[in-house]
Symmetry: C2
Subunit: 149 residues, 2 copies
């Protein structure tokens, strides 16, 4: 079902501060930055080492009714989501539904860098908010995605 862990999402109150911590003091590299108004999030993708492994995604809320704002309110800053990469989101979603998993929304949404994403219900995955992500360049990996800055 899953090609691998695409990224781990950290909820952060302030994106610039979190970027300074991760790129300045922890040695991560900024791969991509983006504002996603639909999700109410300002985000940054970070890589380390050879850049081929799972990435860290920093997620800061842009409005108080966004999922990240609610996560910060209820649980504080920290891991908010774990994203598993899939080749074909529609097919994997259908298969997971057949196996009894619930998806948070009926339709896939637009994720980082033109990807397609869906979320599994945390009650069905042992308390983990699992994002399913199909990178923009179908059949490729996220390395094919254009880096905007």
């Amino acid at each position: 079902l899953f090609e691998g862990v695409d990224h781990i999402g950290y909820a952060v109150p302030d994106l610039e501060e979190a970027l300074a911590l991760h790129t300045g003091r922890l040695g991560w590299r900024l791969e991509h930055r983006e504002h996603n108004e639909e999700q109410g999030v300002e985000e940054a993708m970070l890589t380390t080492g050879d850049g081929l492994g799972a990435r860290v995604q920093l997620l800061a809320p842009t409005r108080s009714d966004s999922p990240i704002a609610r996560h910060l309110e209820r649980r504080g800053p920290g891991v908010q989501q774990v994203a598993y990469r899939v080749r074909d989101l529609e097919q994997v979603s259908a298969e997971l539904r057949r196996r009894g998993f619930r998806l948070l929304q009926p339709e896939a949404r637009r994720g980082t860098a033109g990807s397609l994403i869906s979320f599994l219900h945390p009650s069905d995955t042992g308390g983990v908010l699992v994002e399913l992500v199909q990178p923009a360049a179908t059949g490729g990996t996220h390395r094919d995605v254009t880096v905007l800055d």
Copy 2:
């Protein structure tokens, strides 16, 4: 500093149940299983896809005073830790200390499959419990580690 994300640790109340969910219904493969009495944990490492990416580590408590038991009590099941792989734990720990990060224990401990591990204080990393892990076979990756079962 970091070669990549080694694994993401999920706190689970029951290891067999979590294994059934992850390997039976979510398609992960069991790579390694281990009982770590020092940490009070029964654990399983899972891979997916080409098996080269970040893994999922299922962590079940073996006693009520273990870190995993405390996590389940306070926060419920879900992501408990994110492990970053390093080549030389002693050197990276010293560098991080120089940069103002606190480690939870003064000395490195034994982690999964003969690895060496340390933890950064979550207050210094934006609420994320970061494990630093140096695989058993120094200079290699965790693929070099002998799988015991």
